[in-house]
């Protein structure tokens, strides 16, 4: 209740402070409205099948919020032009509670009753429940977790985030900028997100000539006290502490413990959601130089000409105004960026039918990914080229603010070091043919 009030206040203040931008948005909205009256407008429905309640909802709900903003912008500008028609986009959401059975029911409803043309999912536990139906109906589905991909999943794509492969960019940057930091420790929660990420980091460290001084430490997702975990990690006096793809619920206490137990080296992590709060709990000096992979979208570096995400700064401002800047997280923009890729493909195909869109996506070979032009990839790790890789940003906290230092090419790293990646993926049982 308190937070709602607080958010409300913030958004009011923001609203007053940014009347000019709001005015501009309204103007666009008005012109869009006038378009509606004469254009032959059709509507295409897109399914949003992710956890919206329960502990995993943090991976779904912010994405749906981002999609609503995306849809309003696109629709206000007249919609997506497909063939001779302009299509308005409408999202239909179904809460799957991260349960495969409910995901199956939801997919059935979205496909058979709502007639959606594309379904966006978080993936993970829920994908196997949807897989047979999606296959049978030829429905195009996207996931945020490429570990769902296998040679059988012909209509499943991972077009935004090829977790955890992009983590190599952060390690490469670290090795170039701090050549003396050699001794590394790594910890992760013991689950479907943590393990492939550990494999990726191990490959990246080996490629960069860094030495792992302690076996990777896996902890149970139910862990609440991280003091013992950190004591163990710091016992071998590492230069670099790697937090893998730990959820925010773990990154925060882990950083806090590292601070309290006097860690002086560099921290590298996949995410640092809500990092200003970590700074509150530790100190600005402690968090200086923290390396991760998810930029704030108000970063001016996102206006780089290579970046394809439309108006990232405005998108962020709108999101912050509606839901509060503190609510911004990695998934806030990811589903929306998948929609960019989908609309490009639908426009190119001149059709919204799943098979045509998929064909158009794959046909060009080049995908306008959020962080730059990218290509289809994945055969060697996932058994199918249905993941998109290209550039990924390396983000570093400087003076209390996340700053994009550089965009780095994942395919370049892969060309040099793919054997290492395959070696570590195999050792941890993460290759597609090991997780059937």
């Amino acid at each position: 209740m308190y937070r709602k009030k607080l958010d409300h206040k913030i958004s009011r203040r923001k609203f007053l402070a940014t009347t000019t931008t709001t005015g501009a948005v309204l103007a666009v909205g008005a012109s869009g409205f006038s378009n509606i009256t004469h254009a032959a407008d059709k509507t295409v429905k897109i399914g949003f099948l992710a956890p919206l309640t329960g502990p995993v909802s943090a991976w779904g709900k912010p994405g749906l919020d981002g999609c609503q903003i995306w849809a309003e912008h696109v629709n206000a500008a007249g919609g997506v032009k497909v063939g001779d028609d302009n299509y308005k986009i409408e999202f239909v959401a179904y809460d799957n509670e991260y349960d495969p059975g409910k995901a199956r029911t939801g997919a059935a409803k979205l496909i058979k009753e709502d007639d959606v043309k594309f379904i966006m999912m978080l993936g993970g536990d829920t994908w196997p429940g949807v897989q047979p139906l999606a296959e049978k109906e030829g429905m195009l589905v996207s996931t945020l977790l490429p570990s769902d991909l296998t040679p059988d999943t012909k209509t499943l794509i991972a077009p935004c985030e090829v977790h955890p492969i992009y983590n190599v960019t952060g390690v490469e940057w670290l090795a170039e900028n701090q050549p003396d930091a050699k001794r590394v420790v790594i910890c992760a929660q013991d689950d479907a997100l943590g393990t492939p990420s550990v494999a990726t980091y191990l490959a990246a460290f080996e490629a960069a000539g860094m030495e792992l001084v302690e076996e990777p430490l896996f902890f149970d997702p139910a862990t609440t006290d991280f003091a013992p975990v950190m004591t163990k990690l710091l016992a071998s006096k590492p230069d670099v502490l790697c937090l893998d793809t730990c959820y925010a619920d773990y990154v925060h206490p882990l950083c806090e413990q590292a601070f309290q137990q006097d860690f002086k080296g560099t921290i590298i992590s996949c995410t640092a959601d809500f990092y200003p709060k970590i700074i509150d709990k530790t100190s600005k000096e402690f968090m200086e130089g923290f390396i991760f992979q998810f930029p704030d979208f108000d970063d001016p570096a996102l206006n780089d000409e290579r970046v394809n995400f439309a108006n990232p700064n405005e998108f962020y401002a709108e999101y912050a105004q509606r839901y509060g800047a503190a609510e911004w997280s990695a998934v806030s923009w990811e589903y929306a960026s998948i929609m960019d890729i989908w609309s490009d493909a639908a426009a190119a195909a001149g059709s919204v039918e799943p098979a045509d869109v998929l064909k158009a996506m794959k046909a060009s070979g080049l995908v306008k990914h959020a962080f730059g032009d990218a290509g289809w990839w994945g055969e060697e790790l996932f058994g199918i080229d249905n993941a998109v890789v290209g550039n990924w940003p390396v983000v570093v906290i400087e003076d209390g603010k996340a700053v994009i230092k550089e965009y780095r090419s994942i395919p370049d790293w892969w060309a040099k070091h793919k054997d290492l990646m395959i070696k570590h993926f195999t050792a941890l049982g993460q290759m597609w043919n090991q997780r059937a």
Partner: protein, 300 residues
């Protein structure tokens, strides 16, 4: 050569000492929670499944009062303790008293209450973890490489202070004596003129308030979420089984035992194994001595 060895020994003893401190802290907050659970069971005969959510409610009181309304931290902690104690009174009055002859009904009702508290936290604060700026970042270097933070020291002091006070209260006061009598034999106690309602109220208030203060004090250390009660209740169950379900002293000793085993296994092996060891410990106790290491003979 000798120097390297000396360094290794120094590192090992640092690690050992730091681990001990970690374990003492873990034992402190766990015993606060487990003792409350045992007290409620002992006096009222109900297993309070919502105990983890009472702990969560204590943490969110601090989020609301300290983080959002900027009250002093200790005022928020005291408020959390009292507020959760009152939640306990509410549970006693609305749920456990009408269901006194139906212990299973009490358990089920507490599950219903758990769902309500969880949803209330989601509605009020969102599903994401809440952030609390720590009231203090002071820390004590006990020796090179061995750290105890002030925030953790608060928890340890609260556990020692409150549990000693409870011990004295149960042993030296008339009400405490009456509570122990109720725990042993309700009917006989009632025949002695002890008011079951009054004793239940007091037990419920104390038990809930202990969970609340544990949640309130650890809130800056754990980043509260609406679902944080779940992992706590599982640990609390393990502790009260190992200690013997109705045994207050047993709960404290079992909490210390569990915290040391869990912390040391986490540090010297890994966290996953630590959880398995905890569960196996509980199963062994259940199979060999179902009434717990410190329990009396089986009650019919």
């Amino acid at each position: 050569m000798g120097r390297v060895l000396a360094k290794v020994i120094a590192t090992m003893s640092e690690l050992l000492l730091q681990t001990m401190i970690n374990a003492v802290y873990a034992a402190s907050y766990m015993s606060l929670i487990a003792v409350g659970l045992v007290l409620i069971f002992g006096v009222m005969g109900v297993i309070n499944f919502a105990h983890g959510e009472l702990y969560m409610a204590g943490a969110y009181t601090v989020v609301g009062l300290y983080s959002f309304m900027a009250l002093p931290f200790f005022a928020a902690v005291v408020a959390g303790m009292v507020f959760v104690g009152i939640l306990g009174l509410l549970m006693e009055y609305a749920l456990f008293r009408p269901l006194r002859d139906n212990p299973l009904g009490g358990l089920i009702a507490s599950i219903g209450f758990l769902l309500i508290l969880q949803t209330a936290a989601v509605l009020g604060f969102g599903v994401r973890m809440a952030h609390i700026k720590p009231p203090t970042q002071a820390k004590f270097h006990l020796m090179e490489g061995v750290v105890l933070t002030e925030q953790r020291l608060y928890v340890i002091m609260a556990a020692v202070g409150l549990l000693s006070a409870l011990y004295v209260f149960l042993r030296k006061t008339k009400i405490g004596w009456a509570m122990r009598a109720c725990a042993q034999d309700k009917e006989a106690a009632a025949l002695q003129g002890i008011s079951l309602n009054q004793i239940s109220r007091i037990a419920m208030f104390i038990g809930a308030a202990l969970a609340g203060v544990a949640g309130a004090l650890t809130a800056p250390l754990v980043s509260p979420t609406p679902y944080m009660g779940h992992s706590v209740i599982v640990t609390a169950f393990i502790i009260i089984i190992v200690g013997g379900i109705g045994q207050l002293e047993g709960a404290v000793i079992a909490a210390i035992l569990y915290a040391f085993v869990h912390t040391f296994v986490t540090t010297f092996y890994n966290g996953v194994l630590a959880d398995i060891v905890g569960l196996v410990l509980m199963l062994l106790v259940l199979i060999l001595k179902p009434t717990g290491l410190f329990g009396a003979k089986e009650r019919a």
